[in-house]
């Protein structure tokens, strides 16, 4: 899993039938120090995250696993909202 910040929302009327009804969020990957790392991407939101929240997400085929309707063309899914990051 990787950390990211939700920076926006995507609207798409025409999409894979099994992605219908799912919210898709734009996320900016970040490191644990909250600095941006890499390019933004789009992830399916399975937990109801909002813009500005820190989340963690899974990529590749594993992104399909949390979805209720399968198969679906998802290669990134938000699976948790971060409450706190503690670094030693």
């Amino acid at each position: 899993m990787n950390l990211a910040r939700v920076i926006g929302t995507i609207w798409a009327t025409r999409k894979d039938v099994n992605l219908e009804g799912l919210k898709m969020q734009l996320i900016q990957p970040m490191n644990p120090q909250a600095e941006d790392s890499g390019n933004p991407l789009v992830a399916v939101d399975t937990v109801g995250a909002g813009v500005g929240e820190i989340v963690y997400y899974v990529t590749a085929y594993e992104a399909v696993i949390p979805l209720e309707v399968q198969p679906a063309l998802a290669d990134a899914s938000i699976v948790g909202i971060v409450d706190k990051i503690e670094l030693n």
Binding site: I7, G8, W11, D16, L26, A43, A60, Y61, P71, D75
Partner: protein
């Protein structure tokens, strides 16, 4: 999924027989302000995308997770046509 713009189409007569009938589009990756990035991908079209449209591209083994592409030698597929991007001001 990555953001892209359809900039062309690929035609191929000789190909894996499981790819027969699939439309292959050239998609150039874009930034959040719709400017081009320097990378491309050839993706199977599963939603009826046309030239010039902004799309989402699903890659890797996830690209086989649809009725159209299941079991096919495909690693990139257009999974949605973007209507709008709502991006927070940074």
């Amino acid at each position: 999924m990555l953001l892209g713009k359809v900039v062309g189409q690929v035609w191929a007569t000789r190909k894996d027989e499981k790819l027969t009938g699939m439309k292959l589009l050239v998609v150039r990756h874009i930034n959040l302000d719709y400017s081009f990035r320097n990378s491309y991908v050839v993706a199977v079209d599963s939603v009826g995308a046309g030239s010039g449209e902004y799309v989402l591209v699903t890659t890797g083994s996830s690209a086989r997770q649809s009725a159209l592409t299941e079991g096919k030698p495909v690693d990139a597929v257009i999974s949605a046509i973007i209507d709008t991007l709502d991006v927070e001001k940074q």
